[in-house]
Symmetry: D2
Subunit: 300 residues, 4 copies
C-alpha cells in the first residue's frame, strides 16, 4: 500500500464513529411445542483510536462492520436475548473490552412485537403486533453506562377534552380559538434509566410496559389546554411513578384533525366529521427530568 498523502494542515478530524447498522436478527426459543419469538433490528456504532483509518486508510485498528454484525448473531445464540437493553449491554461490553482501539460503543435496538395467533394456538404461530416499535440504546465507554428505553409510532387520539385558546395574537395569527378539538399524536419517547452499571440490572422487561402504560394513561387522563401540557403530564407521570427513570424526552407531532366546513352543503358539523391532515404539522418536543437529575438525552 502506497502511503496516501497526509491532509493539508488546515483540516483535522473531529468526532467519528462507525459500525453495522440495521442487523435484523430473529431468535426462536423452543420450550417444547411452545415457541418464543424475539425480533430485533440492531445498529452498532463504535469509536476510539480511529485517526489513522481516516488519515491514511490504514485499517490496523478497525474491527470490520461485518464482524460487528456477526457478533450480533453469535451473541443471540450464546447470551440469548432477555431484553433489548440486556442484549445491548452484552454487545457494548464486548466491543469496548475486547478491542484496545475501541473506546466507546453505542448500541441501538428496535424491537418488534408479536402476539400468538389464538385460534388455533399451535404454540408456534404469531401475528405481528404493529402498534408501536420499542427502542433501546446502550452506551458504554468502559466506565460509564447509559441506558435509554423508548418507543415510537404509538398513535393516540382524544376525541374531546382538549381546548386551545388564550394564545398570542401577532399579525400572522388567524387560527380561531376552540374549546373542543381532537388531539392526536404519534408518541416518540425515550427515557433514561438511572442504572449506571453498579448493582443488578433492573427488570427491563417489566419496566417497558410500566413506562408505556404511564404514557398512555397520562395522555388519556389529561384534560388538555395545549399539547405542551399533555407532553409534560406524560413525562412527569413517568418520572413520578417509575423510580428507575431519571429523564424522559418526548417528541409529539400534532396530528391536526380539522373540522370540515359543511355549511356550503347546508349541513351542520357538530364535532363529527374531521379531515385528518398530513403536512404541515405542529411539532412539540420537550424533556421532563427528575428533580436533581442532569439532562443527558440529546435534544436535537
Amino acid at each position: 500500500m502506497t502511503a496516501a498523502p497526509r491532509p493539508a494542515p488546515t483540516a483535522r478530524l473531529g468526532q467519528n464513529q462507525y459500525g453495522k447498522a440495521e442487523t435484523r436478527v430473529v431468535r426462536v426459543v423452543r420450550d417444547g411445542a411452545v415457541h418464543h419469538l424475539t425480533d430485533l433490528n440492531v445498529s452498532v456504532a463504535l469509536s476510539g483510536a480511529m485517526d489513522e483509518v481516516h488519515l491514511s486508510g490504514s485499517n490496523a485498528t478497525v474491527l470490520t462492520t461485518d464482524a460487528t454484525k456477526n457478533t450480533v448473531y453469535a451473541f443471540a445464540r450464546t447470551h440469548g436475548i432477555d431484553s433489548p437493553e440486556a442484549f445491548g449491554i452484552h454487545l457494548a461490553r464486548h466491543f469496548t473490552s475486547s478491542q484496545a482501539s475501541i473506546h466507546r460503543a453505542r448500541i441501538r435496538i428496535e424491537s418488534y412485537g408479536w402476539q400468538r395467533i389464538a385460534e388455533p394456538d399451535t404454540g408456534h404461530s404469531f401475528v405481528r403486533d404493529g402498534r408501536e416499535v420499542r427502542t433501546a440504546q446502550v452506551e458504554f465507554d468502559g466506565t460509564t453506562w447509559q441506558v435509554l428505553g423508548g418507543l415510537k409510532e404509538l398513535t393516540v387520539l382524544n376525541s374531546t377534552d382538549s381546548e386551545f385558546w388564550g394564545f398570542v395574537k401577532d399579525p400572522y395569527t388567524t387560527l380561531p380559538e376552540t374549546t373542543d378539538r381532537v388531539l392526536a399524536t404519534d408518541v416518540d419517547a425515550r427515557w433514561r434509566y438511572g442504572w449506571n452499571g453498579a448493582g443488578e440490572q433492573p427488570d427491563w422487561q417489566a419496566l417497558y410496559p410500566a413506562v408505556r402504560s404511564r404514557l398512555l394513561s397520562a395522555f388519556a387522563g389529561t384534560y388538555s389546554y395545549s399539547l405542551q401540557q399533555t407532553l409534560y403530564a406524560m413525562g412527569a407521570r413517568v418520572v413520578e411513578e417509575v423510580p428507575e427513570v431519571e429523564e424522559v424526552r418526548l417528541s409529539l407531532p400534532n396530528k391536526h384533525h380539522f373540522l370540515v366546513d359543511l355549511e356550503p352543503f347546508g349541513l351542520t358539523n357538530d364535532n363529527e366529521v374531521y379531515l385528518a391532515a398530513d403536512r404541515p404539522y405542529g411539532l412539540i418536543e420537550g424533556t421532563v427530568l427528575r428533580e436533581g437529575a442532569t439532562a443527558a438525552i440529546p435534544t436535537d
Copy 2:
C-alpha cells in the same frame, strides 16, 4: 377559450377514469360520554362520457375531483359510516345516479383500526391498532354491483411446521432442501362478495372478522410444504366457511428468514438464530374460487 387542435387521426382515447384519491375522513359519533371513531382513506374513480375533456379540454361533463372530495365529507355526515362497504355503496350510487355523464364509479377505501385506551377508560381516548389495514372496493355501473373486502399488511409467522423440498433442480438451483423452516408473510388479501345489489346488504362489519379469522387460522393450522399450499388453504378456508364470499385473491411475499451459519464461531444453530431478509423475496399470488364462480378480481 380558443379551441385546441384535434389530434391527428392516428391516436384515439381508450379506457379512462378520474377522481379524488386519498381523502382522509375521521368521524366521531358521541353516544353520551362514549365516543366511537371511524378513520378512512377514500379514493374515488369515475368514468363515463369524458371524451371531450381529453380531446378539447372542455370540462362540461366533468364533476370536479374537489366535489368528489366534498361529497365524501358530506356523506360522512348525512349517511354516517356503518362500514367501509356501505359507505362506498352510498358514494358509488350517488355519482352514477346524479350525473348523466358518469357511467361507472369505483370507490376504494382503507380503514384504520383504533382500540380504546383501557386505563383510564375515558370513553374518548384511543390508540391506533396498527396490525393491519382493512380495505374495501365498491364498483357500480348503474346496474351491476361488485363489492370487494380486503386486508393488507397483516404480518404472520410460523416458526416451525414448514418444509420445502422435492422441487425442480435446474442448473441454477443451489437452494438446499429443508424439513424445518420459518414461514412468514405479509398477507395482502381481497375477496369478492356475492352480493349483487338484490336484497339486503350483508352484515359487512361481521363478515370482515369472519374472513380475517379464517385467514389467520388456516395460516396457523396448515402444516406447510410450500407457501403456495398455505395460500390455497387460506383461500379455500374462506370460500368453504363464509358463504357470502365467491372468490379470494391472495398476494403473499415470502419473507425469508435464513438460518445464520454460526459454525465459523464454533457455535451450533439448531433453528434458533435467523436473519430476517428484505430483498429479494419470493412472491406467491393466487386466486381461490367458489366452485361455479367466475373470477373477477384483477390478477395483475
Copy 3:
C-alpha cells in the same frame, strides 16, 4: 411426506403465479479504464402447471424462486444487459423454454440511471441520476410476446398556461374557476411496443429517450384546460411520433398547488406563493391507442 387432505369440493384454484421479486443486480463493464454501469431491480413471475403445489404441497413442478434469482445473476454475466427489455426477453424465453411446467413468464424490471462524475472524470465514478425510474415488462407464453416500456416518478410542473373552468356545478361543488393555475404531476407511464417476436428487436435503448422526450415536450407545450387534456396530448404525441408504440397508459396525480390567501396579512398574492399539498390529490388515468390497436395494458 404424508399426503395433505384435498380441499373440500366447493373451492377451486384460479389464476396463480410466483417468482422472486426485486432481485437487485448491478453490472459493471470495463472498457479499459472506462467503466459502464447498469443497475436493475428484476422481478420474475411464472405460471403454468402449478395445481399440485397448491393442492397437496408437492413441489415437483416448482422451479424455486431462489433459482429464478440465480438465473438473473447468471444471465447478467452470460448475456449482458443491453437494455432492460432485451434482458427481460432473455429471461422470459429461458423460463418458458427450459421447464415444461412453466407456461408463462412475466419479467418486470426497474432501471436506475447513473451519470458520470465529470470532475475529475475517472472513468469509474458515478452519481445517481434520480430524476425517474425507467421500467420494462416482458411477458411470454411460449408463443406471443408483449413488451412494455415505461417510466415513473418523473415530476413536472407548468407554472402557467393552465386553466380550469366550465365544469359541472353540483350541490357539492365549491371550487372556484381559474384561468391561471400551476399544473404539476408525477408522470407514471407504460407503453406497449408493437414488436411481437417476429423480426429483429427494435432499438430499445433509442426508443426509451424517444418516448420520454415526447412525454415531456407534450406536457410543456400543451396549453391546458384540464389535466385530462394534457394526458391525452402526451399519449397522442407518443403514438403519433413513435411508430413502434401501439398504446400508452398514463396515470397522472394532480399535485395541487394552492395559491395561499395572504389578504389577512395585508398582502396581495398575484400567482406568486403556493402551498404544495400532499393529500388528497386528483388522479387522472387514461389510455391512448394507435388507431386500429387493441388495448392490452391493464387499466386497474
Copy 4:
C-alpha cells in the same frame, strides 16, 4: 379555565421547543415570460419562556404553530427567497425579535431542485431534478447566529480504486480482504459556515455548488482503502478549499455491492456482476474541522 394541578415536586421541565414542521412553500417569480421556481419545505422550532404552557396549559406566551406557518408564506411574498439560508435568517430574526417570549429560533429547510424542460423551452415548464435534497439550518438566539448548509440523498459509486484489507481479525471476523471493490454511498452532509451575523451574508447560492462539487470530486478522486478515508478526504477538501466553511459532518452508509458467486453455474465473475444489498449496511460518520475551529454540529 380551571387551573390544572401543578406537578408533584419530583418532576421538572427541561429543554423544549415547538413550531410548525414541514410547511411546503413554492414560489414563482415571473420575469416576463421566463418564470423562476423555488420549492422549499420549512420547519420552525422555537423556544423561550414556555414553562407555563407545559405546567398549567396557559398559552399566554405561545405564538401558535399556525402563525409560524403563515409567517413562512407571508415572508415568501414580502422578502422573497434568495436562498434557503437567507430565507431562514429572515424567519429566525423575526421570531426572536417580535415576541418577547421567544428566545431562540431554529429554522430547517429542505430545498428541491427543478430544471427547465428544454424542448420546448416555454419559460414556465420544469422537471424535478431529484438527484439530491439541499438542506439549510439557521439558529439564532438574539445574539449568535449559526448557519448550516447541507445535502442528502446524493448517491455516488466508484466501480474500482477501492480496497479493503489489513483490518483487525477477531473471532467474529470472516470477511475476506479485497483489493478491488465497489464503493457506494448516499452522501448526507452538513457544513457550518463561519458567518456569525457580522458583516454581509456570504453568497449562499454560490457556496452550495462550491461545496457540493468538492464533495463529489473528493469522492471520485480518492483512491480508497476504507470509507473512513474517503469521508475524511471529502470533508478536508471542503474545509481546505472553501474558506467560508468551518466544519463538515458526514454520514455515509456503506451501500454494499457484493460480488455474486457464479461458480456453481460454471461461470467466472471478474468484478462484473454485483448484488446491491439493502440491510444491514456499514454506517460511517465523522466530522472534519478547520484547524482552530470548535465542533458545533451535533454528532448524534
